[in-house]
Symmetry: C2
Subunit: 191 residues, 2 copies
Amino acid sequence: MSPRAGLTTDAVVTLAIAIVDEGGPAELTLAKVAERAGVAAPSLYKHVKNLADLKRLIDLRVVREMADALRTAATGRERGTAVGALADAYRDYLQKHPHRTGALTAAPDRADDELSQATHAVAEVVFAVLRPFGFDHAQAVHATRCLRAAVHGFAGLEASGGFGRPEDVDESFEVLKTMLVQGLTNYSEQK
Amino acid sequence: MSPRAGLTTDAVVTLAIAIVDEGGPAELTLAKVAERAGVAAPSLYKHVKNLADLKRLIDLRVVREMADALRTAATGRERGTAVGALADAYRDYLQKHPHRTGALTAAPDRADDELSQATHAVAEVVFAVLRPFGFDHAQAVHATRCLRAAVHGFAGLEASGGFGRPEDVDESFEVLKTMLVQGLTNYSEQK
DNA sequence: ACCAGAAGCTACGAGCAATAGCTTTAAAGC
DNA sequence: GCTTTAAAGCTATTGCTCGTAGCTTCTGGT
């Protein structure tokens, strides 16, 4: 089944992610992946359709990892605690892998079922966490968008070095979490 | 002073931004800019140091435009109204130019005075809007980060097509604005 | 032992950024 | 009005990248 038993698609993706993590998405090049794999560049096409496909596979893995991280963080917690844990997990992930922000920002191609499902899985976790707040469906969608936007925005800006000032970023994030929990509570009580 | 009186640096940047607006940042190439300018590619180097420099000039213009838009939106308004206007203006700008999100996400190089000053100008507007809330300096920094993160996150996700569901995005943004204004108010009253 | 297919290779073409070095043109000074 | 000078443009070239074509080699199954 696999002569030389060398590379696999997963291994290529792992090497590619390492390059992204080290130098950012712009540094990703098939030539560099091939070098790390100890292989000539064209050989990669046996495992990956092309560069765009490789990027898609990276996004897919990142989104799935994030979904897992969020699920883990949310289990066994409720309401404000769960929201806070979700936010912390999201931020932690991007702190550890700041160059992966793009994978979580890009909208999945509508025709890409695998990736669409993976991003859907992320939304599912958030939905589940918001359930105890008692939103109706439309409200839950609005609340999910707000939560995701705020946390993703914060973590993304932090990851790209957008917070230049010396003030403690952890404290800023605490303020944000408080705002969100209070905001969600108010939103669920009103109307 | 200018033989042929053809191109200027500003004109090159304008053409480049048009390309970004049409097809996204990945589509930007010196060859395409040259084609639109009616000039051979190497001629561009008389007006721009290199591709990275061109990208920096694009970012600079975008950040300055955003600062202007926010300033305009904030003038003559106060507290909640001003915060809402700021948020709307930020979102409006990225709705009209969805491919410019990157310019507002990237942290300015610390050594780049011009760009640093431009981003500082944006923060100044937000600071000014938050002044009536009576925050101390550290609080103002935290509040600015939260406000920016939430609005930028929302507008950025919307710009990249991240809100797939049919529910009204305007309404989601109204919810977010309400949360922010209430959150800022609470934050200013507590402690 | 053999054979089919997967995994690797070399060679090549096209597109892009960037540099070198030359030519043209327009503005400024006399 | 002519000359000078420097900016603005050009062609040629290099190096890097993605991607394809086509060949070779190794492996696993029968």
